[in-house]
Symmetry: C2
Subunit: 270 residues, 2 copies
């Protein structure tokens, strides 16, 4: 039993008193027998609440998102971009969540083509920084924005053509790329739409550069939403299209989702 235990302060109480339990971890310390055993064992669990958020620069986020894409894919890129900036500006709890944990989302989840990985990475970052009651609002808005946005943005194209993505270790095609709207948050639809319009195949570096710039765009949008959220000025604007709204008039309880129905289903008379 440690000295502090003998003094009637258990480990949890000790951590609370010293502020060590407030979302800050403490490992096995080796400053001396007394203190070491006071804090030994596993680290105090991180608090289950939103991490602190401070305003971030969307353009810096674009650079990191792009670089992260070329390092380990879209989901890694988006998550790395946002959380690496928060590590630098906030530190604390962000430093203990590994960048790599969202890499699985690449290509819509191990290349299955489900949710766009840039969204997967960004949504996990949103969840870290936003309160439970607000996560759905922010994530839903991001999905809606994504579905109706023309990727890659003109800004990302300008940066790409100008060679501004200097953090990228690998060479990337410094060219203009066609823009498309996918009408869906799914990687499969997003890529298939762009590939059909551009005639550039999946394995081509230009297609990858398209997704690197898309990752940059998703990061910039996420940061801009989180900055607004932090300022208390975030207002969701996404609305389902009228067609989908009509479908859900009858089918709302027949399914889960806000994706456009006619992307997969034939419309029918009613």
């Amino acid at each position: 039993m440690s000295k502090l235990d003998l003094e009637g302060v258990d480990r949890r109480g000790f951590l609370k008193t010293t502020g060590l339990g407030l979302g800050v971890a403490v490992g096995t310390l080796v400053f001396g027998p007394g203190i070491a055993s006071a804090a030994e064992g596993s680290a105090a669990p991180v608090a289950e609440g939103a991490f602190p958020y401070v305003n971030l620069d969307p353009r810096e986020g674009m650079l990191r998102g792009h670089a992260g894409y070329w390092k380990s894919g879209c989901a890694y890129g988006a998550f790395y971009a946002i959380t690496s900036m928060l590590r630098e500006k906030v530190g604390g709890p962000y430093t203990q969540v590994p960048y790599r944990m969202m890499a699985w989302g690449r290509g819509g989840g191990a290349n299955w083509g489900t949710l766009c990985g840039a969204l997967t990475g960004a949504c996990a970052a949103i969840n870290l920084a936003a309160a439970d009651a607000d996560v759905n609002k922010l994530v839903s808005e991001l999905m809606g924005w994504y579905s109706t946005f023309s990727f890659p943005s003109t800004d990302a194209t300008k940066m790409g053509v100008a060679g501004a993505f200097t953090q990228t270790a690998k060479a990337y095609p410094k060219i203009e790329l066609i823009q498309t709207t996918s009408n869906s948050p799914l990687c499969h639809v997003s890529n298939a739409t762009w590939i059909a319009a551009s005639g550039i195949p999946l394995g081509d570096d230009r297609r990858k550069e398209r997704c690197a710039r898309l990752t940059a765009d998703v990061v910039a949008k996420t940061i801009s939403m989180l900055n607004d959220y932090k300022a208390g000025t975030f207002v969701p604007v996404f609305k389902m299209n009228e067609e989908t709204e009509t479908c859900l008039g009858c089918h709302e309880q027949h399914q889960e989702g806000k994706m456009s129905c006619t992307e997969c289903h034939e419309p029918h008379e009613y």
Copy 2:
């Protein structure tokens, strides 16, 4: 300058020497001025490698997955189930990754119906525990298994009917539930298929219980895969169906994904 700095040990070196840098965080300590400044500032970043994994009990995982679903949804449930067990058995770095960070995946991502949230939560846990080179293999296998599995499993149904999910704070329907195979990892398809077969609507507690048991099943499968992976005996068995393989014979470079094509597209002559 701290005492340790004066002795020629910088902060990084100090953390390395004491083992505090090995994936374990240290906050601003308040044991005294000397020690406080030795460890002050932001925590040493967690290592960007797989966290340690130890064998887990799939049945215990089912209980926690089910309970987590009823607390904060499918994605929370799956991620909580696996990482809470790893916190208890491994401790260390798992304690600093908040359970709540994957909650956004509920209902296929803020109820958008994209990737099943139980998969979203489980995949993030896989990514924490598996090496970079193996993440895609494990995640892809889980997606494939999910697409062809009949949910909820007979085991989960037995546990549900027997009232075995005792960790769940809320009451849940202790009834048999129809089983369906969704042929897709998407929440939308998974739910719509089950709702069509059961006649039970989305908002019904029985439908939610179906997803709670599905979460339990996804956790059990993930744990069983990770146990095999740890033992060096994991072998992926998922194969795309022949129809999809035929499609990809021509269309592989036209899209990203492994989902069944004819779920959304009409087959065509070639």
